[in-house]
């Protein structure tokens, strides 16, 4: 489907007081638009059908253009983009890219590199972070098990100066093309969670593709660890891996949905353009008030989500975000995911059978959006955390209610 590029973007630019976001969006289009048009969009449907991951060569090309370094510190050659600026870049990438997995992988690779850099280890910076910024290495999070975090089975046992790691991580996003895995395993002696940097070449590491509904070109894999022997020097966190993981996920939550913001905007534009060119009873469908109403509702979803996520990112840029579980960040992620699902569902309702065709990407976007029902903090778990905080704060000073 073709659409006049940037209908809403032009509209928003005229309304928005935030010229800096517009400048970043324009810069993103100028620097990375050709890459997306050449290496991402033409094969998006085919990769989705086959479940093949976006090749690392494409990520390397993105690295060569500076994309993977934009949010890294200037001191190591990065662009020093703060969360607001980085979010604006990801949002525009989401708008340009018909494959949501691309934006997901970009944000994931950068988040892992940032977390490794925060360890302060210069050897890690040389071996992992700088190559990741160039797209020569790719990092993934190996956290999720088929159990809650207090019941992880993957375990590390000390053997002299080394550790021997055995276990299974059943869902590793980006695993298919990753070579470095930030891996959370239980310490057999203390029961604490430790974090190791495991490498694809380590003996005993095995990756298997996992069939998933959405994000099918994001290379989701399971990671099997069969007595993987690693030196203690590969410990990224020697204690409280649980807090380490929560800090990683929390910081990532609002940035993760920025790609969805752009994709929602593209879906709205595509949908409106398609309906405008469809004539029923002698009139374009966009002249029917029920269609106008639904498009209006979709616009509200897009702009409300943008406002909420930008609000959370501005808080992060000011350094005011709670590092472990920030209510505003978590609520923004939750809200944007629900609105994205709602928005593309409305497009499917408006477009009828045409919207359901594979050749249009609406159903693919729906499957991708649904991936974040459970990803980066399941929606229902976020609700529980948020509700619990509300109760603690609002019940303050109130009398206990006696059972009647």
């Amino acid at each position: 489907m073709t659409r006049p590029d940037g209908i809403l973007d032009r509209h928003c630019r005229s309304l928005s007081p935030d010229a800096e976001l517009d400048r970043l969006a324009a810069e993103t289009r100028a620097r990375f638009g050709s890459l997306v048009a050449r290496d991402i969009n033409p094969l998006a449907a085919e990769r989705d059908a086959r479940g093949t991951c976006i090749p690392q060569e494409v990520m390397r090309a993105a690295g060569a253009l500076g994309l993977l370094a934009m949010a890294m510190p200037e001191a190591i050659g990065g662009g020093d983009a703060d969360p607001v600026a980085w979010g604006a870049v990801l949002e525009e990438l989401g708008y340009l890219s018909e494959d949501s997995s691309f934006t997901l992988l970009v944000s994931l690779r950068v988040a892992v590199a940032t977390t490794i850099l925060h360890s302060g280890r210069t050897d890690f910076e040389e071996r992992y972070v700088r190559p990741m910024m160039a797209g020569d290495r790719a990092g993934a999070l190996a956290y999720t098990e088929d159990a809650d975090a207090f019941s992880f089975k993957s375990v590390a046992e000390r053997e002299g100066d080394d550790f021997v790691i055995t276990g299974e991580k059943f869902l590793v996003t980006g695993g298919a093309t990753a070579d470095t895995f930030m891996t959370y395993v239980r310490d057999s002696e203390t029961d604490d969670l430790l974090v190791f940097l495991l490498e694809r070449e380590d003996t005993g590491v095995e990756l298997r593709p996992v069939e998933v509904s959405g994000f099918r070109s994001a290379g989701l894999c399971s990671l099997s660890l069969d007595r993987v022997k690693v030196p203690a020097s590969r410990l990224l966190a020697a204690e409280d891996g649980l807090g380490h993981a929560q800090r990683f996920l929390n910081a990532r939550r609002a940035l993760l949905v920025c790609g969805f913001l752009g994709r929602m905007r593209a879906i709205l534009e595509d949908c409106a353009a398609s309906l405008h060119h469809t004539v029923r009873y002698g009139r374009p469908l966009t002249e029917f008030q029920n269609v106008q109403s639904t498009l209006g509702r979709m616009y509200i979803n897009v702009e409300a989500s943008r406002a909420f996520v930008h609000h959370a990112l501005r808080q992060a840029s000011r350094g005011e975000t709670d590092p472990v579980f920030d209510p505003l960040t978590s609520a923004a992620k939750h809200f944007a995911v629900e609105q994205a699902i709602d928005t593309v569902t409305m497009a499917l309702r408006l477009l009828g059978g045409r919207g359901y065709l594979k050749e249009n990407s609406y159903e693919r976007s729906l499957r991708d959006f649904m991936g974040l029902i459970s990803g980066a903090g399941a929606q229902d778990l976020l609700q529980i955390g948020l509700g619990d905080l509300v109760i603690r704060k609002c019940a303050r000073g109130s009398e206990r209610v006696e059972e009647i």
Partner: protein, 89 residues
């Protein structure tokens, strides 16, 4: 004092949500809680004996800063609530 556990920690305390102790400080109250429920210890505390960063403590509705001292004196009617917000990847 009264100590209330979040849903995520109930299984470490035989699914009992609320505990009452005659302790006079937060620390001794938490010690009593873990003496009664040994499985809670590794879930609630790190290796240095500090509250893990994944848990937030509220005392009578006021949030305690992470890393705060647990030597704080508490009375019989004070209520300690633990909030655990843990998400998957």
């Amino acid at each position: 004092m009264i100590i209330q556990l979040p849903g995520a920690l109930l299984r470490f305390a035989n699914y009992q949500r609320e505990f009452q102790y005659d302790s006079t400080t937060l620390k001794t109250g938490l010690d009593s809680l873990m003496a009664q429920n040994p499985a809670l210890k590794s879930a609630l505390l790190d290796r240095k004996g500090k509250i893990r960063s994944a848990h937030l403590l509220f005392i009578n509705g006021d949030q305690l800063d992470r890393g705060s001292s647990t030597d704080r004196a508490l009375g019989a009617h004070d209520c300690v609530e633990i909030v655990t917000a843990i998400a998957g990847g």
